[in-house]
């Protein structure tokens, strides 16, 4: 952590919230933060114009501005200053929208613990710095970026998220590859091919017969299945006789070869800490943890983020995608998800049972079969966010 104190601008009209937040930042912050407060948006904008601010802690409901308009005004005034939204107990929707539109994070007022507050601000500032620095060199950068998608546990929709993100990226970018790194039954095959033929398509089954040091970009390219949409797939084995454990050497070789082929490589990873998965995340520029809103899944997500960090993935390169599955008996709100998991929100995918079935029937990802749907919209936004996020260098 830096020894220089950060200048925090707290834009908050509520005297009690301001007092508590200031205390939490100063007392336990041990001089890490210098806080100044503005009670109105106009006052906040004035300070942004005249001073060097490292981060804005922004309440959206101010005497002279409400809701997203508050965020937009700050963004316009200071596009290069990270913003963490302060939200009330019942205003989560606005906060999620703000994160979608570029806020680094949000905090629920009246509930936030000092430790969470510190961590959130530090991460927000550091993440913003890395993004800004890398953004400068993004254009022209040749090597493909690798995004890992991993379920907190099985059955949360990880493959659906991975395939749709890849398909959404493929609409805008060339050379997008979705790869599944598993030695047993392919999860990619059925969504695309089950109606068409049961003939096994070449993919990992072929590559797994080679020694890791023989895995080159050229070999991998031969085993990619190119779809008409432009998306390429690396399929897992489809027949029992081809099933085989993927070793970490093999995964190292595969991920390297894939990064040389694709501008974006989306890895669908198994939700348990297999050797393959552990090796793969080390090559990822960003790792998305997919969860649903059941309390047990959120806890599994927390364990997964801990595991990723133990494997050396730094916190700012981990994000969570929340999938709203069909009516759940107990549903955890997003703020709690983020405070439990201690990582940033990449997006929330709304329930889409019908669109999902239709996509399966048509043999294409939802973003292609139902591009106007709300779930597709969310998945496209996630892809866009990851496209920006993934500029983080290795």
């Amino acid at each position: 952590m830096s020894t220089k104190a950060y200048n925090i601008l707290l834009v908050e009209d509520n005297a009690v919230d301001a007092r508590v937040i200031t205390e939490a930042l100063t007392k336990a912050g041990e001089g890490a933060f210098v806080i100044q407060r503005a009670e109105r948006l106009s006052e906040g904008l004035e300070k942004l114009r005249t001073q060097t601010i490292d981060l804005v802690l922004l309440d959206f409901m101010l005497p002279d501005s409400e809701g997203m308009a508050t965020f937009t005004a700050v963004r316009k005034e200071a596009p290069n200053v990270p913003v963490v939204a302060l939200t009330g107990v019942s205003d989560e929707a606005v906060a999620i929208e703000a994160v979608r539109q570029g806020a680094q994070d949000f905090l629920v007022k009246g509930q936030v613990q000092p430790k969470t507050l510190h961590r959130t601000l530090h991460y927000a500032i550091e993440r913003h710095k890395v993004q800004a620095a890398q953004l400068k060199q993004v254009q022209g950068a040749k090597a493909g970026k690798t995004i890992g998608v991993i379920g907190a546990r099985g059955g949360v929709g990880t493959t659906t998220v991975a395939l749709n993100v890849a398909a959404a990226l493929a609409k805008k970018h060339k050379e997008v590859i979705a790869a599944e790194l598993l030695g047993s039954y392919s999860a990619f095959y059925d969504p695309f091919f089950y109606k068409k033929s049961r003939a096994a398509l070449s993919g990992l089954n072929t590559l797994m017969k080679l020694e890791p040091d023989k895995i080159t970009s050229r070999e991998v390219e031969r085993c990619l299945v190119k779809l008409p949409s432009g998306l390429s797939l690396l399929l897992g084995p489809q027949r029992a006789e081809d099933f085989k454990e993927l070793g970490s050497d093999m995964v190292d070789a595969l991920t390297r070869a894939l990064a040389g082929l694709g501008q974006y490589v989306i890895l669908d990873l198994q939700s348990h800490a297999s050797a393959a998965c552990q090796a793969a995340v080390k090559h990822c520029d960003f790792v998305v943890v997919v969860i649903d809103r059941t309390p047990t899944c959120v806890v599994a997500g927390k364990v997964m983020t801990d595991l990723l960090q133990q494997l050396g993935v730094i916190p700012v390169r981990i994000g969570v995608v929340v999938v709203n599955r069909q009516p759940l008996p107990i549903s955890v709100d997003v703020a709690e998800v983020l405070s439990t998991m201690g990582c940033q929100l990449v997006g929330v995918v709304p329930t889409a049972t019908d669109a999902c079935s239709e996509a399966n029937r048509m043999g294409m990802p939802m973003v292609s079969s139902d591009p106007q749907g709300t779930a597709s919209g969310a998945l496209i936004e996630i892809a866009e966010r990851l496209a920006t996020e993934q500029v983080l260098g290795k």
């Binding site: 007092r19 007392k27 409901m61 613990q113």
Partner: protein, 125 residues
């Protein structure tokens, strides 16, 4: 009057966990607790006056804003009943309705008194 609201009032007006959180934030500093409570009390008293005025003037936005502020402040001191009633009023005013608002303001006033007493006891105890 044995309404569900009445039952709600049987629990303390202030949640111990929220006070614990404040103690933790202030690192045991009693002056900080007093500071927060006094900010809460003076601000809420002001907003109650504003509520009466905005209601009389039929000013939904002003009423919603005052309720929103009390909601936020009360959450900090763990006054959960007060938070709940303020949220109700915020939503009512937000939907452009004033029927029932006067009653909610009365409940906020009453609950505020209970909270003030409990907060006073905390800093004295």
């Amino acid at each position: 009057m044995e309404t569900p609201d009445r039952l709600g009032q049987e629990k303390p007006a202030v949640d111990a966990a929220a006070i614990e959180r404040l103690r933790e934030i202030g690192d045991g500093d009693v002056a900080f607790l007093k500071d927060v409570f006094s900010a809460f009390e003076s601000d809420t008293a002001q907003r109650l006056v504003a509520m009466r005025e905005t209601l009389a003037a039929g000013d939904f936005t002003g009423l919603k804003r005052a309720a929103h502020t009390i909601k936020g402040s009360s959450l900090n001191v763990g006054a959960s009943n007060l938070t709940a009633v303020s949220l109700q009023l915020e939503q009512l005013a937000g939907s452009g309705k004033l029927e029932g608002a006067a009653e909610l303001i009365c409940r906020i006033e009453e609950e505020f008194k209970r909270v003030a007493v409990e907060l006073h006891n905390i800093t004295q105890g």
